[in-house]
């Protein structure tokens, strides 16, 4: 509980700090402070759980994150982002936080679920988007664009959806809901649930 509590405090600080930085001067007005504030919560929610992890921390995280979510939404609105853009970006990220916290908790109940979730976390949730970002950022000049299979693997990651919606489109085209990422969370939870039924 103590280690988990410290982790939660760190997540709160990482989430709150960017909201108080003068992003207006650093970046354009299209940056979504709400999405930026939700990244630490999203990373924390997707992390694989152990069997012993307390569920009280997850319940407490909701109360800690709520004011920062509201502040992020208000700052999005203050930047002249439309209600639909702000709600879809912040709401989509918040939905992913809930979905992955639930999926990680559910997978933590069984040994097979924990193994599946940990593998999926390394391969799909964090690994594929990180590898794709490395290809596009550093390796792009040497190897060209990221291969198609890597793009396909990275697409259902909640971090890919977050990265794609960090900047609200200025053209007025609204962002889409994270269906692929929600689907992945559901599939992982279902895989863990089947194991439980078999064992029962």
């Amino acid at each position: 509980m103590k280690r988990g509590g410290l982790g939660l405090a760190l997540v709160w600080l990482l989430s709150a700090a960017p909201l108080f930085l003068p992003w207006q001067a650093i970046s354009g007005r299209d940056l979504s402070p709400g999405a930026l504030a939700l990244l630490p919560w999203l990373v924390w929610a997707t992390l694989p759980r152990s069997e012993l992890d307390s569920r009280r921390l997850d319940a407490l995280a909701v109360w800690l994150a709520a004011p920062l979510f509201v502040l992020g939404l208000a700052l999005d609105r203050a930047r002249d982002h439309t209600w639909s853009d702000s709600l879809l970006v912040c709401g989509g990220a918040a939905l992913l936080v809930f979905a992955y916290a639930w999926s990680a908790q559910r997978c933590a109940r069984t040994r097979r679920g924990r193994r599946i979730y940990a593998g999926a976390w390394f391969a799909l949730i964090a690994g594929a988007p990180a590898l794709r970002a490395t290809f596009e950022g550093i390796g792009g000049a040497l190897f060209g664009p990221a291969p198609v299979w890597l793009n396909v693997c990275a697409r259902p990651s909640p971090l890919s959806w977050w990265h794609g919606h960090l900047h609200v489109p200025a053209s007025g085209i609204g962002p889409g809901l994270p269906w692929a990422a929600l689907g992945l969370a559901l599939v992982l939870a279902l895989l863990a649930g089947r194991e439980q039924e078999v064992r029962a």
Binding site: Q24, L64, P67, A74, A78
Partner: protein, 319 residues
């Protein structure tokens, strides 16, 4: 020298005017001359309908000026057409006829609204978080109260920092008693110009920022300008002039604050109502730097500001 300066100022305008004849069917036509910048006309023309319009075109002030490209929708048979009738130079001529000193005055300091919340909110939210942690042992819903308080504080502070509608600077520039006045409107990213305040000259900072213009197709109307990440400044001749200003009285507006320069000395005069004589000098703030910079030495200067959340600024040079 003055002709060269005038020509330079004319060439710096990001907006030119082109005369077009548009024949339907077409819907939401848009024209583009400079990549990234466009003029979109809201509305539609049916088959057989046509309209002749003088349209604003965003140009590269230092680039060559060709014929804009058109796109539109709802024309399956490709029967709609846009006929270019030529560029209209009336605005440029009207602008270049003004005294060069009047056109070359410093622009208002347009900056994006600062949306960064105050640091005090960080500590207030931190306090709410600690209270939530402290109350968590009393039950699952016990942290609800400090969390909700944090939400209200966050919304209120960010709402208070939000200036609401984007600030539009309005500066009225006068020169020489009965001489012409110009009105300068400036704003960050978005600038709405009503039909009676159409720009003679449009400037952007950065100079090459893409600008999109939206206006109506059916008839001449106001312009909605948008330039992401840029300041927009529009200037036009103020007709009729707002009034006359001299020490015996003024009939421009009720000023909230006035700064007066006579014989090289600046004095603060406080509020100055319409029709009253110039108030006596008193202690007060110095004039804003952007308003007093770049003025010629010698003539009498009156700088003034009206009241309200979106005040009008006056900068008048006497003879």
């Amino acid at each position: 020298m003055s002709c060269a300066l005038a020509l330079l100022l004319v060439l710096q305008s990001r907006l030119a005017w082109a005369r077009y004849e548009l024949h339907g069917p077409m819907s939401e036509p848009a024209l583009e001359l400079v990549a990234g910048s466009s003029t979109r006309l809201t509305g539609a023309l049916l088959a057989g309908e046509h309209v002749e319009r003088l349209l604003p075109v965003v140009v590269d002030p230092l680039g060559s000026r060709g014929e804009p490209r058109w796109t539109w929708s709802e024309d399956p048979d490709r029967a709609g057409r846009a006929r270019f009738l030529g560029w209209d130079h009336e605005a440029e001529m009207q602008w270049s006829a003004l005294p060069p000193g009047l056109r070359a005055r410093p622009r208002p300091p347009v900056l994006p609204a600062d949306t960064t919340p105050p640091l005090a909110l960080f500590f207030l939210l931190g306090g709410a978080a600690l209270a939530s942690v402290g109350l968590a042992r009393r039950g699952r819903l016990a942290p609800l109260v400090p969390s909700l308080a944090g939400c209200v504080l966050a919304w209120w502070f960010a709402g208070a920092a939000n200036p609401g509608a984007p600030l539009t600077w309005t500066v009225l520039e006068g020169q020489g008693g009965d001489g012409p006045w110009i009105e300068v409107r400036a704003a960050w990213e978005t600038l709405a110009l009503p039909a009676e305040a159409t720009a003679l000259v449009l400037a952007s900072e950065p100079e090459a920022a893409p600008i999109s213009v939206v206006t109506k197709l059916a008839h001449a109307d106001g312009l909605d300008l948008r330039a992401p990440g840029a300041a927009l400044t529009s200037s036009r001749v103020c007709d009729p002039a707002p009034g006359r200003i001299d020490a015996s009285g003024q009939d421009c507006a009720d000023f909230e604050a006035v700064w007066w320069r006579a014989e090289g000395e600046w004095t603060y005069r406080g509020a100055w109502s319409r029709g009253q004589a110039l108030p006596a000098a008193r202690l007060g703030d110095p004039p804003p730097g952007w308003l007093m910079n770049g003025l010629p030495q010698g003539p009498r200067v009156c700088l003034a500001r009206t009241a309200g959340p979106n005040p009008r600024w006056f900068r008048d040079l006497g003879p």
